[in-house]
Point group: C2
Chain length 267, copies 2
C-alpha cells in the first residue's frame, strides 16, 4: 500500500502523474491519491474579488485565514475542479477512481480552530470565524471498503470537525495521517521541486536523505510549504511508515521515480 | 428505498431539506439524495466572464452548450460548493453523508454527445466540443456498498461517458435513472414550485395527479425545466418506480410532505 500526495502548485504535470498511477494500479499496486489545489484557489479567489487573507500570529507565524467565503472557494477548486479533473483523467485511463473530500464519510476528522490570535497594527487581536483544523482520525473503514471493491480513492481537503463542520486542513499532513492510518509502506509527497534543497532554488543542491530522527536539523532549509512537507514526513515515519519521499511531480513517471528513491528520502 | 432529487433554483431551503432527510435517515429510511446547482453555476459563470451559452436546434429546442471551461465551472459549483455544502449540513446533523459526482466510480454512465446541430443567423451549423451526455447505466454496486455500510450517498452531475469523459447530464433524469436502478418505491423531484401548475405561475392551479400513461397530455403545462421533470417522472414510473412526486423544496419537511402526496403525483 502506498499513499501519493500531489501538490497544487504551478508546473505539476497531472497527465504524467495519472499515466503513472494508472499503470501502477493496473499492475496491482494498492494506492490512495491525495491532492492539493493552492494556486488555482488563489487565482479563483482573486477573480471573485475575495483575495486570500494572510495573518501573522504573535510568534511571527504567517497563515491563511479561512472565513466561510474562502472555504467555499476552496471547496470549489479542491473538491470541484481539481478533484474531478484527476478523477476524469483516471477514468479515461480505465481506473475506477472515486473522488472524496475529507468531509465525505468524515474521512479526515479533527478539531476545529474557530479563532486565531493575530498581530495587527502592533496589537494582538482575537479573530473569529476561522475554518481551519487538524486531522486526528482517518476513516480507514471507508478507504478499505473502496479499495477492496476495486475503487481508487482520490482524496482532498477540507476535513470535518468532530461536530461535522468543514475545516481547511493541510494536505501534506492529511496525507501523512492517511499513510499512518492505512499502514502504508511508503508516502510520496510530490510537488514542483525535486525535493528538499540545501540552497533553494538551486535544484542541484538536493538533499538526498534525511534521517527521521534528525528532521529538526533540516527544517532551516525548508521554504514555506516545504516546511509542512518535512514535518508531515517526520510524522509519518514516527507513525510507522517506513519511507517518505519528497519527489518531483513535473516529470514523467513521478511515482515510480520517487519510489526508486529520486528526491529526498526521509527514513 | 427512496430517491430524493432537489433542484438548484432560487428559494430552495437546504437546511429544512437536510433536517428532514436526517430525521428520516435516523428513523431507518434507506435514501439516496441527488442535487442540482443551476442558479449558482450561472452566477459563477457570469462572475468569471464566461456566461452560459444557449443554442437552438433546427427543431427549435433550446439547450445549454457545455464547452470545457463551462464544464469546469459546473464541476466547481455542483461537485464543490453545493455538494460539500449539503454533505456538511448532513454531517452536522449526525448523518454520515458521502458526496459523489456521476464521474466517481462511474455512478452515472452513458453516451457522450460531442457535437450539436444548431441554428445561427438562419443557418444550420455543427458545433463541436460539447460535453453533454445521457445516463444509461447507474453503478448500483457502489450505491449499495455505501448504503449497506451506513453512508448516505449525495449525488450530483456530471456523469462519465463510456470512454470516461466528464459529461453534463440532466439531474432530474439522472435521479430517475437512479430510482429505476435501485428499485426505489418513490422518487421525489423537489424544486421551487409546489408541483406542475396548470396556469404557471399561479400556485393555486396545482395539478394534483397525473396518470403515467397520459404524461404527454400534461407536457403543455410544463415550463422550461419542469418539462424535464415530467419526462423524468414518466421514465421512472415506466421503469418500475411506483410513485413520483413533484414537490416543493421551499418549505419545512419537504420530503415528508412530498411522501404524503403534497405536490403533483405521477403514478
Amino acid at each position: 500500500m502506498i499513499v501519493v500526495k500531489v501538490g497544487g502548485s504551478e508546473g505539476i504535470d497531472y497527465d504524467a502523474l495519472c499515466d503513472d498511477v494508472a499503470e501502477l494500479w493496473q499492475e496491482g499496486q494498492r494506492l490512495v491519491l491525495v491532492h492539493g489545489g493552492s494556486v488555482e484557489t488563489n487565482r479563483l479567489a482573486e477573480a471573485l474579488g475575495h483575495p486570500p487573507r494572510f495573518v501573522t500570529s504573535p510568534s511571527g507565524h504567517t497563515s491563511r485565514f479561512t472565513d466561510h467565503a474562502t472555504l467555499e472557494i476552496f471547496e470549489m477548486v479542491y473538491c470541484g475542479k481539481v478533484n474531478k479533473g484527476i478523477v476524469e483523467r483516471l477514468q479515461r485511463r480505465g481506473v475506477n477512481a472515486v473522488g472524496l473530500s475529507g468531509l465525505d464519510g468524515r474521512l479526515f476528522e479533527g478539531k476545529h480552530k474557530d479563532s486565531v490570535r493575530i498581530v495587527e497594527d502592533g496589537k494582538v487581536k482575537l479573530l473569529r470565524g476561522d475554518h481551519t483544523g487538524t486531522v486526528e482520525r482517518v476513516n480507514v473503514h471507508l478507504l478499505n471498503l473502496l479499495l477492496d471493491n476495486g475503487y481508487l480513492p482520490v482524496l482532498t481537503p477540507p476535513g470535518a470537525s468532530f461536530e461535522g463542520v468543514a475545516v481547511n486542513v493541510d494536505g501534506d499532513r492529511a496525507a501523512a495521517a492517511v499513510a499512518v492510518a492505512v499502514k502504508a509502506e511508503a508516502l510520496l509527497l510530490l510537488s514542483n521541486v525535486p525535493g528538499l534543497l540545501r540552497d533553494f532554488p538551486n535544484e542541484a543542491s538536493l538533499i538526498p536523505e534525511i534521517p527521521a530522527d534528525r528532521v529538526e536539523d533540516y527544517l532551516e532549509f525548508a521554504q514555506d510549504r516545504m516546511k509542512k512537507k518535512v514535518l508531515g514526513a517526520a510524522e509519518a515515519v514516527r507513525g510507522g511508515v517506513r519511507r517518505v519521499i519528497l519527489g518531483d511531480a513535473r516529470l514523467v513517471q513521478p511515482v515510480r521515480r520517487a519510489l526508486a528513491g529520486r528526491g529526498t528520502v526521509v527514513s
